[in-house]
Assembly symmetry: C2
């Protein structure tokens, strides 16, 4: 019983040998067809193609993996506190590889672990994925990227700004869109706008804050530094920063929280002060996760195109392995635009 016989039906899964025999060519020729080699006569190509169709042959990824020293999967590496973000990104990636033979392996890591690099190396050299998608914030770490290079594994870094050359990153334009939203608040007449910053040590909080400051500078309005509070992207930190800002004598008339979860905390802070949103206070967030439309009032926020970024990143990463279908999109595209979503917590018009 040499090959993968099907227990119940007695059918045998066709292998490259069966195809070769039926087409009357060598297995190497079939292999060439599978790998889309250009060195084939149209006649043979046709014969092989017909035989494959007739047998319903599907190349065995495990065998290819062994021969090619490369598994037919892509990996998602992340240490992201926000589940919704990871999930939305994952959705985009899966959409991109839906019709391919690729699998998606998800690998959460702990960025605070001293074993981080060792663990990632173990994972990568074990699974040997075709490529790795690295999510923020660990996408900012050069040591992880160096590891990928050393292991000769393709990688794609995701970030709030371009973190690498166009072949290796996908980014959103956080700074520009925060600038836009802040400018809209200023144009409405707000002068005392609070800002809740994200965690220190990462890039996206820096970008978002920079956009906020840019808007003040460009509008010629002086920014009151004491209205900038520190958060860490979690709900509780938004609640706390919101309480601090709203407890001041001259409380702000609007608060920009640099993500939705903190914005949701700010809403709770407003309630605890008996303030009505948006009448007494306008609140805006960033991300447009499910939270944004489930809080009361619904949150005016920035749609962070994380799903679309996942799709683009996966496309770029695997394009070389899927030759052909790459025409639909631009391999050099790096930035996926964010946009403002106006809901109830702040009216912009």
């Amino acid at each position: 019983m040499p090959r993968g016989d099907d227990k119940l039906s007695g059918q045998t899964t066709p292998t490259i040998n069966d195809v070769a025999a039926l087409a009357g060519v060598s297995k190497k020729t079939v292999s060439r067809f599978i790998n889309k080699s250009s060195l084939m006569s149209d006649a043979t190509r046709d014969k092989v193609s017909r035989a494959i169709k007739q047998l319903g042959y599907v190349p065995n990824p495990q065998a290819r993996a062994l021969a090619l020293r490369r598994n037919f999967m892509i990996a998602m590496l992340h240490d992201n506190p926000n589940g919704q973000t990871v999930l939305n990104f994952q959705k985009g990636v899966l959409a991109a590889i839906k019709d391919s033979e690729l699998a998606l392996a998800v690998r959460p890591v702990d960025r605070t672990s001293p074993e981080l690099l060792v663990e990632i190396e173990a994972f990568l050299s074990m699974q040997r994925p075709l490529g790795v998608l690295i999510l923020p914030p660990i996408s900012e770490r050069d040591d992880i990227v160096d590891l990928c290079k050393r292991l000769d594994i393709a990688y794609m870094r995701i970030g709030s700004t371009a973190l690498d050359d166009p072949a290796h990153c996908v980014a959103s334009n956080d700074r520009a869109v925060v600038h836009e939203l802040t400018t809209a608040l200023l144009a409405k007449g707000h002068r005392d706008i609070g800002f809740v910053r994200g965690p220190e040590g990462f890039r996206s909080p820096v970008e978002r804050e920079a956009g906020f400051r840019d808007a003040f500078a460009d509008s010629g309005v002086t920014l009151d530094e004491s209205l900038i509070g520190q958060g860490n992207y979690r709900f509780d930190s938004g609640l706390e920063a919101g309480r601090a800002l709203l407890g001041r004598k001259n409380r702000p008339s609007a608060i920009f929280a640099s993500n939705d979860e903190m914005a949701s905390g700010v809403l709770h802070a407003a309630y605890s002060f008996g303030l009505s949103v948006p009448d007494d206070l306008e609140v805006v967030g960033f991300d447009d996760t499910a939270t944004a439309s489930h809080v009361w009032p619904t949150l005016t926020t920035v749609h962070w195109p994380i799903e679309e970024m996942g799709r683009l990143a996966a496309m770029k990463l695997v394009s070389e392995f899927l030759g052909g279908t790459t025409d639909e999109f631009d391999l050099d595209q790096v930035v996926v635009d964010s946009y403002i979503v106006e809901r109830a917590s702040a009216r912009l018009t």
Copy 2:
């Protein structure tokens, strides 16, 4: 250059042959050690173990996959509209396989697609995972399970009630805990309690509604059928059902929404009627997703132990491949208990 030489360092990744040579045994013996065969003398076992440690040898999963016709990964099959649920489950699974050599492949499917089974078969026979974790609601489908059996792939069904024999399922006790929570509302004096049902055609909504009805029956209170509204587990349906219930002449004094997202919709409905929660209306949900603590007021709900279920399911699924570490938990455990989480939207004491 026969083997996997490391480009930069010139080091060579050790293979089973290197181990065999160093230990002075045949590769088959090393293979026996790797596969934890009991047919080995302690002396050889020791020699091999030492050689492996010395070389830092790690078996190549691709080669094993080819020989064993089985990939070293487990797959998660789902068509779940709730991202948070999928993600929490995933967290549990990853915790279970964290220290193993296994990868987790995520596979969302479309249960409404006529190609569903074909697609799943293509995926499974391609990737040949060690096992499949099937999430609700598709875990209820026997055709998918039959497919797994035919392909000889281990499976584990997740559900709101035991869907299979103990070796093949993990379940929560939705009916019992809804009974408990409803009883608590009745004990507080509520008589007109609205209920927002989940989508038709699935098991968990049936279980949750049954628990609700049980409580009325056991408490000897007559249930007003017109207070039972239909939802579909989405926010909007909760909003709509909530509006319908609250627009009645004799509006309910409490509403049990069968998941948090719909409960959140009910809260919005209450606001739109100018009702204050929990003073004018008490609201409870089910799931205890992040939403529950981010809405205002925070939601009294049932903690659905989806993460723990993921952990248990993965443990049970892979226990046979990871011999040894299985002592810590009970392989026959099926039910993971849910429990009530009291927050602000309903006070139970």
